[in-house]
Symmetry: C2
Subunit: 411 residues, 2 copies
């Protein structure tokens, strides 16, 4: 088999852990598998580099930040290659650019556009274990770009897709994907399997175990992902097209995202193209808008509410002040003290009662719902952020997620 | 003017020092000069990275060491570019590979073979200050190479040559070039000017202020070098073709190299080609042999003595054991407890008495001379390493180097 493995920052947090990762990789290689290994920067390296940049300037250029941060993964690949070599295996480390990873010409959150596998193929065919720096690539003008936090997952899945790998294993510091964050919900249960769509919703909604872009990429190319822990031999959670194990479940997990802020614009003229104009201006600034709710309460004017990440709040407010002038709205509001709790499950599509069950449970817990958004397989509510933990536990209990076999269908 | 400046590890040792370098660079740029700035890794970064590698393995691959160590300069260029940008100047950082620096395919001590200035010219013409990572380049197979310790000096001079710069300034933590190491010889004096050849001998002989390859390159391309301190505005020492200021001096400086070990092979058959065979085998292992003395004491056999760096001693001994079998020598000896003291001066050529004066001074100080080697402009003696400091002070006094104007000619 051709296996792509990815080890996160905690898994390569110090030289002893790097040696342990090396043993795991070499063992697989000796079993006859061809191995490509993607690594993140060691432990707190990225944070340390960001601190250095902050000491220099409050507003570092994105290009230079990418130049700076990409060194973190480069240190990891060199050290892991040394450790693998020390175990007697043939190995080569490659930076993102050397591995042929091409990206858009956007710094700090570039997307992979193409992978030129020439050098990767040559190394794999020569029997070498290939260690690739996650999180980074090269854009058209030969500048180093980074894929944003969590981008190493995307590197691994994109490499697995480009190389037509049989399996992509994502090693992390947790045992797999849980029905809810075990630190918040004590009786959360680890899932054996989950579908791409469910995982995508969970990842997008703040479950830190996998980057949503990585899941999306795995889904498009049909790459099975295994999320597992680098400190033990537990099988972890498999992410694939259909979850044979638990396909009868309506709700698979409960998740919460606190990196969210709510914005509202009042009195927007009810004319065609206004909503486009608002969100085009935000998109042009690379601000990701998540939940959008538009309500038409009065004649001729609308209120538009939406959420962004906390990081984008300041920039969003500046944009809104401009938008108000352009579209002739009457005012705006913002609230950083919110959280988004969501329930996710592929079985929801055919079980329309889940939303009502969720709202009822929150109401019983006297938790006020501020905004609601639904998709085929998830329902999200914006609530007060100091009630997030309480809400998660209520929902986890309501949908009986700690039981392996159940019918939590409300129909 | 087009000025290339190089700042060593101490000059960019922390974020405050990086900011101070940025001010110096931007001031020169605002005076109308075009600026290319080469930087080393911050302070102890390289040593810290070496320590990480040592934690992994006692014998890291040279390719992976280059992958690891090259991150140090990459961090520096990103931070310096941020600091320059923060002062309102337009700037771009480039890694060695991005700056078009091509090297031999040898790791850890590659030589620069060519510089493709396309990207450098474009940036300079766009009015940008260009910050380049020292010490690194790209070899033919797109692997990152490093130029060895002190290689940042070479990067700076090679860039100055390729860009036809008007001046190359090497910033360091000392005020310039001295007649001897001021930490060893308290009345050592800073020189205003020195010739390439004198500087080359001083650098080769262990004066740490400039890398000998950098001086060699500057001499070949006629690039004037200015060695100066990054913590003050002292003019430093200019290194150029002819030292107008002090051309009458016979001896310019005294230097000492303790990173030296002596090896001897006894009873080497006195046949043509034997010396070639010995030093070819050492050269094939990339061992730099410095001083070589061959003496023919007995009929038909020779003793060959030579010096290598301390780092190469172990490898040299292994080679010698092989050499002895191949050439049929009778035995060998080695001594790591030696030092090489040298006097250097362009005026020596026409003053044949310098050697005798040096040997006499050492004899008066009861210092035993083990080996002697001379060139046009230097005389070196191998002595006991615990007498090195004493020897330097004796010679500095003997040649009256603390006096600015003198005739220390012995003729």
């Amino acid at each position: 088999m051709l296996i792509v493995q990815k080890y996160g920052g905690t898994s390569v947090g110090d030289t002893n852990r790097i040696k342990s990762v090396a043993r795991r990789v070499v063992n697989k290689h000796r079993e006859g598998h061809r191995m490509v290994v993607v690594v993140s920067a060691m432990g707190h390296t990225t944070d340390d580099l960001i601190k250095l940049a902050r000491d220099i300037t409050g507003n570092p250029s994105a290009r230079e930040m990418d130049m700076l941060l990409s060194t973190g993964e480069q240190v990891s690949i060199a050290l892991l290659a040394m450790a693998i070599n020390n175990l007697g295996a043939d190995v080569i480390s490659l930076t993102g650019p050397q591995a042929g990873i091409k990206t858009e010409s956007i710094h700090s959150r570039a997307r992979i556009t193409d992978i030129d596998c020439t050098r990767l193929h040559a190394a794999i065919e020569a029997g070498q274990i290939v260690v690739v720096a996650g999180f980074q690539g090269l854009c058209d003008n030969k500048d180093i770009t980074t894929l944003g936090r969590g981008g190493s997952d995307t590197t691994a899945v994109a490499l697995a897709a480009a190389l037509k790998a049989d399996l992509c294993e994502i090693y992390t510091d947790v045992d797999g994907v849980y029905t809810a964050d075990p630190r918040v919900v004590p009786d959360a249960r680890q899932l054996e399997a989950i579908t791409y769509d469910e995982m995508l919703e969970l990842a997008t909604l703040g479950a830190a175990v996998l980057h949503p872009r990585a899941v999306e990429c795995a889904k498009i190319y049909g790459i099975p992902l295994r999320v597992r822990c680098s400190f033990n031999d537990n099988p972890g959670t498999i992410v694939k097209e259909e979850s044979d194990m638990e396909k009868n479940l309506v709700v698979t997990g409960v998740t919460c995202n606190k990196n969210v802020a709510k914005l509202g614009i009042f009195g927007v003229p009810d004319q065609p193209g206004i909503a486009y104009m608002v969100f085009k201006m935000l998109a042009d600034l690379n601000i990701n808008v998540d939940m959008i709710v538009q309500s038409s309460m009065r004649d001729g004017v609308n209120d538009i509410s939406f959420t962004v990440t906390q990081d984008d709040l300041r920039k969003s407010i500046e944009t809104i002040e401009e938008i108000i002038k352009v579209v002739g709205a009457t005012g705006y509001t913002h609230n950083p003290h919110v959280a988004m709790v969501s329930v996710v499950g592929a079985g929801m599509t055919s079980n329309p009662g889940v939303a009502a069950m969720m709202f009822g449970a929150l109401a019983d817990g006297e938790i006020n719902i501020d905004m609601i958004s639904t998709s085929d397989i998830k329902i999200s509510c914006i609530i007060n952020n100091n009630e997030a933990e309480k809400a998660m536990n209520i929902l986890h209990r309501k949908f009986e997620l700690s039981k392996v076999s159940r019918s939590n269908c409300c129909a």
